[in-house]
Amino acid sequence: MALIEVENLSVHYGAKGQLVRAVEGVSLRVDARESYGLVGESGSGKSTILRAICGLAPMTAGQIRIGGQPVPTPRGRAFSRRVQMVFQDPYASLHPRHTLDRTLSEPLAIHGIGGSDARVVKALEDVGLPANFRFRYPHQLSGGQRQRVAIARALMLEPEILLLDEPTSALDASVQAETLNLLNRLRAERGLTFLMVSHDLAVIDHMCDRVLVMQHGRAVEELTRDQLAGAQMTTDYARTLFDASADRMLGA
């Protein structure tokens, strides 16, 4: 049984009197401990799927099941123990007036988990941040360090599933490499399941076992990692996307 099941998901909303069909009948299944990628251009609905899973976007039709159980609305605490999200922009996703200590201990307080002191210290260590960063504010950190904090925050409740929304697109190449390595290490250590959004095919290829190509809110094609590397796509759009990433090929 797949850990994450999304069936015929549609997300529609009205904006300025016009109906926007952000996601239209998308289905996907992610097995436990798998890493699954969503790729497509902006506006293709890939982030909206992650937001719909978290309850941040309205579900118009379809069903989302985690571990075989339909997700409740509102999502509730049991859900956030299992599923956490890392957002794209580490400059916007951390509270600017909360120290790292407060950011990291807040989920523990909400869920009534004790021993927050030791857990915060451990969390910083796990993502490779010095312990003396604990009482710093986000503005005192670099972009890569902030994204590490965002990852640490998502892991505070020891979830099974991480939803990653372009986790490295705001980062420099070398910092991106460090962050991707960190995510891969954490996934191996903790047996996490990733559902990851990126517009960079090379990042998706490096991180994910399978990838779903999306365009205009619809699923275009699902590819395994080997099919992607071997350029075995059958749809024109997936081909276009692949060709536009030609400089990201091995040997290029």
Partner: protein, 276 residues
């Protein structure tokens, strides 16, 4: 023909904690070509671009032995002369459309403001020209975008609006600071071909600032690689893969590749002497 020549450019910030040198002795010259400046955040690439327009506020200072644009000494020009250059002759596309567009003004009003005030165009003519500029950067439904506020646009749309705005006065030199980092690969290719066309057809000079080494290598003619305020390597873009400097090589190696192995990506071991 040299459009811009910069010799020994320095940008220093006098802070309470002492001097911070963001740019330390950068020299380059630019013809009607595409020059790429790459480096990580904090390498001084944006500051180099802003210095050309003298857009550095105190406590920052710009020093250079020479900074000449098309016969005008930029170091000696008065603020009034600089204002005449900015936008008209040298335009800059800023990194983040979220912070560079006026949030409380409709896109249309922002695009036509310069045409109306500076060129004294009628509202109708300015509107037509603005719509034309939006079409030139491949925006679908320019009429709708004209009536939108910046927060209603996606990052990619905002960036294209910025590029359209900068290209309206037909500048000789365009400084583009990460113009495509907010865009998807397919849109990125479109924007790059727009910029490419401008360099070729109008003979515009382009300084393309980016952290994306592969993109710069594919798109530009020449590349300056910056590290901690210095140019560590200058090379022809087509020879990028044969880069000699360990920093450039490190930047290239830490990128994931399609079909590459899943081993941890090599990190960048920074050697202290690179900053010398």
């Amino acid at each position: 023909m040299t459009l811009l020549s910069v010799k020994d450019l320095r940008v220093t910030f006098d802070t309470e904690a002492g001097k911070v040198e963001a740019v330390r002795g950068v020299s380059f010259s630019l013809g009607r070509e595409r020059l790429g400046i790459v480096g990580e955040s904090g390498s001084g690439k944006t500051m180099t671009g802003r210095s050309v327009l003298r857009l550095i506020r105190p406590p920052g200072r710009i020093e250079a032995t020479e900074m000449v644009f098309d016969g005008t000494d930029l170091m000696a020009a008065s603020e009034r002369e600089m204002r005449a250059l900015r936008g008209q002759r040298i335009a800059m596309v800023m990194q983040d459309p979220k912070y560079s567009l006026n949030p409380v003004m409709k896109v249309g009003a922002q695009l036509t403001e310069g045409l109306r005030l500076r060129d004294g165009m009628s509202a109708k003519a300015a509107r037509e020209k603005a719509i034309e500029a939006l079409e030139a950067v491949q925006i679908r439904g320019p009429e709708r975008v004209m009536e939108a506020y910046p927060h209603e646009l996606s990052g990619g749309m905002g960036q294209r609006v910025m590029i359209a705005m900068m290209l309206i006065p037909n500048p000789d030199l365009l400084i583009a600071d990460e113009p495509t980092s907010a865009l998807d690969v397919t849109v990125q290719a479109e924007v790059l071909s727009i910029l490419d066309g401008l360099v070729r057809d109008r003979g515009m000079g382009l300084i393309f600032i980016s952290h994306d080494l592969r993109l710069v290598g594919r798109f530009c003619d020449r590349v300056l690689v910056m590290y901690k305020g210095r140019v560590v390597e200058e090379l022809e873009a087509k020879n990028l893969m044969q880069a000699q400097h360990p920093y450039t090589q490190g930047l290239l190696n830490c990128l994931p590749r399609i079909g590459g192995s899943r081993a941890p990506l090599p990190g960048l071991d920074r050697a202290a002497e690179w900053a010398e």
